[in-house]
């Protein structure tokens, strides 16, 4: 472990630490325009919060609150104490901005180092960071964590596939940080150069920045001959390193000395007991420049209450099932793209990319699923392709009521294997 005192802490001591940090965060936040008003409006007396239970008296914070406090309505320290900001892409409106003090950056790096150690990474590893640097937290987050741990960091960032491959070969990269779609794309490109990715020294990957299914992870592990780890993070909660799998790969330890975890019913806001599935709500209690309370992540998961055999007491969350806002309804049934992906990625003839197109014809929902044929599984027979198409329909039938139309596409012809892949196109005019 990176920090045994904290990772294997007694739960009572952990809760005491949480309360102490929560109180400090509330004090800091009460001086901000945003939370100052929230506390006044909801008659929250910060000095009267004496147990963790009292957290429930606070209202939720939602993404839009961050947009409304743009640019610095949630900044809780003097501007001169802020050393960095990050911002979300803001594709659906004004971007959300997060601030960090020197201490925050330091603590965050420590948390990421802790996460990496949980997966078995050591200072002897060579870490190639193929994530975007800049306003996005993914690149810099892991970069600082890996440096803290003492790895040699190759800050190769995104794109330039040939150079990525050359860096891996020349500097014996052992750990990569990569989006799942790019990992699949890169494996194909490496094959094209006549090299089997399994023969490279890479032994571990951190996947992030876009949703993916367990089947995709299996596929990446298979193609690269590595261990791929699920992790969880978001800029509102610092960035990467909020929750991380240990080598048991059975759920992600959510670092409870930094975050207070709740799972709620997304419809009613009711807090659910441990083990039940719902929307993850997080309170950041260890970021002085910008505390956030009861943040609705829109991510669906559940807390795994059972202890993990690795000895870390921080409770685990299950892999994210989907986002409350990614979900689409077709023929009256709620579906997450990840469910369709799971089915597709278990069919060996299906290639790496797919796209779900939703349409409406004569008031009826139609779902078109475009999949790529996996080159190696093509044997030259038209009737095999027809069989494959039927097989995909059969496998999906259990999941979706509406009969899907399956389109087979040439390998590499579907968009966005690099960066964030757009998987669902909704053409329905509602």
């Amino acid at each position: 472990m990176w920090n045994k005192d904290i990772e294997a802490i007694d739960r009572k001591d952990l809760e005491a630490l949480q309360l102490k940090r929560l109180k400090k965060a509330l004090e800091l936040a009460s001086g901000t325009p945003f939370y100052g008003k929230v506390f006044r409006d909801n008659k929250v007396d910060v000095s009267k919060i004496t147990t963790l239970e009292h957290l429930k008296d606070l209202p939720f914070t939602v993404k839009n609150d961050l947009r409304l406090s743009y640019p610095d309505g949630m900044m809780a320290v003097p501007k001169s104490d802020v050393v960095r900001m990050h911002a979300s892409s803001g594709t659906t409106g004004k971007s959300t901005v997060i601030f960090y003090s020197q201490k925050d950056i330091h603590e965050w790096a420590d948390l990421v180092a802790r996460s990496m150690v949980a997966t078995g990474t050591t200072r002897d590893d060579i870490f190639q960071n193929m994530m975007g640097y800049g306003l996005f937290t993914g690149g810099l987050g892991l970069h600082y964590g890996a440096e803290r741990l003492g790895c040699m960091v190759i800050p190769s960032s995104t794109g330039n596939t040939l150079r990525q491959i050359q860096l891996m070969e020349d500097f014996f990269t052992t750990v990569i940080h990569i989006t799942p779609s790019y990992a699949l794309h890169l494996a194909e490109e490496i094959h094209k150069q006549g090299v089997d990715p399994r023969d490279l020294p890479v032994k571990k990957a951190y996947l992030g920045a876009e949703p993916y299914s367990e089947a995709t992870r299996d596929k990446i592990e298979e193609q690269w001959g590595i261990d791929a780890y699920n992790s969880y993070g978001m800029s509102e909660m610092n960035g990467p390193g909020v929750a991380f799998e240990c080598t048991n790969k059975a759920g992600m330890h959510l670092w409870e000395d930094f975050y207070i975890t709740e799972v709620i019913n997304p419809e009613t806001g009711e807090v659910l007991p441990d083990g039940e599935e719902g929307e993850l709500v997080l309170t950041h209690i260890n970021r002085e420049a910008m505390p956030i309370f009861r943040y609705r992540t829109r991510d669906l998961t559940r807390i795994i209450p059972e202890p993990c055999s690795c000895g870390r007491v921080h409770r685990r969350i299950e892999r994210i099932k989907g986002r409350t806002d990614d979900m689409f309804i077709i023929g009256g049934v709620n579906i997450f793209p990840s469910q369709i992906e799971s089915v597709l990625m278990n069919i060996p003839e299906v290639g790496n990319n797919y796209q779900i197109v939703l349409d409406r014809e004569e008031n009826l929902d139609r779902i078109i699923i475009k999949v790529e044929l996996y080159s190696k599984m093509f044997h030259g027979d038209l009737k095999d392709l027809e069989k494959l198409r039927k097989k995909i329909v059969e496998e999906l039938r259990a999941l979706i009521v509406v009969n899907p139309r399956i389109e087979l596409h040439e390998p590499g012809s579907l968009p966005a294997s690099v960066g964030k892949a757009v998987r669902v196109v909704d053409n329905r005019k509602l």
């Binding site: 044929l373 093509f378 027979d381 392709l385 596409h409």
Partner: protein, 142 residues
């Protein structure tokens, strides 16, 4: 045993051009081409002078291509030429799955290429019945 190259292609403009581009860059000659399509997509079948090299080049370009064993028979380019071969196939109860033909020399000889389930068995039957099957060397050098 001769091979053809079968390529998966979506049914859209440019599908042949993408293949011929790769083949011409690699100096591979096409002896015959046929397309079987099934609405949205189809399979383009190519008889090449160097099928292995052609197939590799296509795959390297990210195209789904595969080598497919075929039978090629030589027959007289005259009325009834194909009928002789077809009768033998029919007598022996052999189902031709996919086929195409082309002429080598006008009024002299033509080639009939087809796919069957058990290539070796069928080839043997044809040879026993006196049909001339073309070896891969002969076929690629035509």
């Amino acid at each position: 045993m001769p091979f053809q190259v079968s390529v998966f292609a979506e049914n859209r403009p440019g599908k042949i051009e993408r293949i011929t581009d790769v083949l011409s860059r690699n100096k591979i000659n096409i002896r015959a081409i046929t397309i079987s399509d099934s609405g949205d997509y189809g399979i383009i079948k190519l008889l090449l002078d160097r099928p292995e090299a052609g197939c590799d080049a296509l795959k390297e370009d990210g195209i789904a291509a595969t080598l497919k064993e075929i039978i090629a028979v030589k027959m007289e380019d005259a009325p009834g030429g194909l009928h002789t071969v077809a009768s033998i196939l029919s007598d022996k109860g052999i189902n031709v799955e996919d086929a195409y033909g082309f002429m080598i020399k006008s009024h002299e000889s033509a080639i009939f290429v087809f796919q069957v389930e058990n290539v070796k068995h069928v080839e043997k039957l044809l040879q026993e019945a006196g049909v001339i099957t073309v070896t891969e060397k002969e076929l690629y050098l035509l």
